[in-house]
């Protein structure tokens, strides 16, 4: 019980420190996740084919 209380107050002061720089809502890293999830997808063959064809153009 007591240790729980201590944890809470620690967290409280931590988040206070954070607010100056990073007052971000919880969903904010979701944007990054959305973006990164596509970046990390393996590249479909159609893109590899297109890249291979580019050299022949011009």
């Amino acid at each position: 019980m007591t240790s729980d209380k201590n944890k809470k107050s620690e967290k409280g002061s931590e988040s206070k420190k954070m607010t100056g720089e990073q007052q971000r809502p919880e969903w904010a890293n979701g944007l990054r996740q959305l973006y990164d999830s596509v970046v990390e997808e393996p590249l479909p063959d159609s893109f590899k084919d297109l890249l291979a064809k580019l050299d022949k153009k011009s």
Binding site: E26, W27, G30, L34, Y35, V39, L43, F47, L51, S58
Partner: protein, 202 residues
């Protein structure tokens, strides 16, 4: 002016940098237009245009920023031709994003994507560039061909709109398919596209 002929090694560098940036183009396009198939078409169109315009790329500058300008312009053109309707991609993983204390339903990544697609396009792209792509306000402003202050205010409005949608759990289902909303989006697009040529040099 930039008619200097590129050497074979410069061409190879360009090709390598373009290749490296393709996953980012796909991510930006997916965020802009929602549907993966259309997003990928857009990226391929962008790659061809970038390849054709490679003499205008200044070696040493950001390939990602340069190609994003091309992609963005292609997107705006296609949007105005009514090819995209910001349709929601049903295949976004149902990944849990956050589970706010006061809410029964956790927020999923798919909710996030749907909410993002309800934003007016110029706010959506600003938020994507800064909040997802990690561009600075200055870089985003140069990509969109507008003032830094404009980008800041678009990002701010986009954030607060998402904030209230996420906090209330009130994420519109498919308002982008609604005819009135769609017309409003197209009108905003006209404003966004006005005076925004491919040049980001000003």
């Amino acid at each position: 002016m930039a008619d200097e002929v590129r050497t074979a090694s410069e061409k190879a560098d360009f090709k390598r940098e373009l290749t490296d940036v393709v996953p980012h183009l796909r991510a930006f396009a997916r965020g802009l237009c929602g549907r993966p198939d259309m997003a990928d078409d857009l990226v391929q169109e962008t790659m061809l245009k970038a390849w054709a315009a490679q003499d205008r790329f200044e070696p040493g500058t950001s390939m990602r920023a340069w190609t994003f300008v091309i992609l963005r312009n292609a997107y705006l053109t296609d949007m105005r031709r009514n090819r995209f309707r910001g349709e929601y991609d049903e295949n976004v993983a149902e990944r849990i994003l956050t589970a706010p204390a006061g809410q029964e339903e956790p927020i999923h990544l798919s909710d996030m994507h749907r909410a993002l697609l309800t934003l007016p396009p110029e706010r959506r792209e600003a938020l994507l560039l800064v909040g997802a792509g990690g561009f600075s306000y200055e870089e985003a402003a140069s990509i969109c061909g507008c003032a830094v202050g404009t980008i800041k205010s678009r990002v701010g409005r986009a954030r607060s709109a998402l904030n209230s949608m996420m906090e209330d759990g009130d994420i519109p289902q498919r308002s982008v398919n609604d005819a009135t909303a769609h017309r409003a989006i197209l009108q905003e697009l006209d404003m966004v596209a006005a005076g925004n040529g491919i040049a980001s040099k000003d």
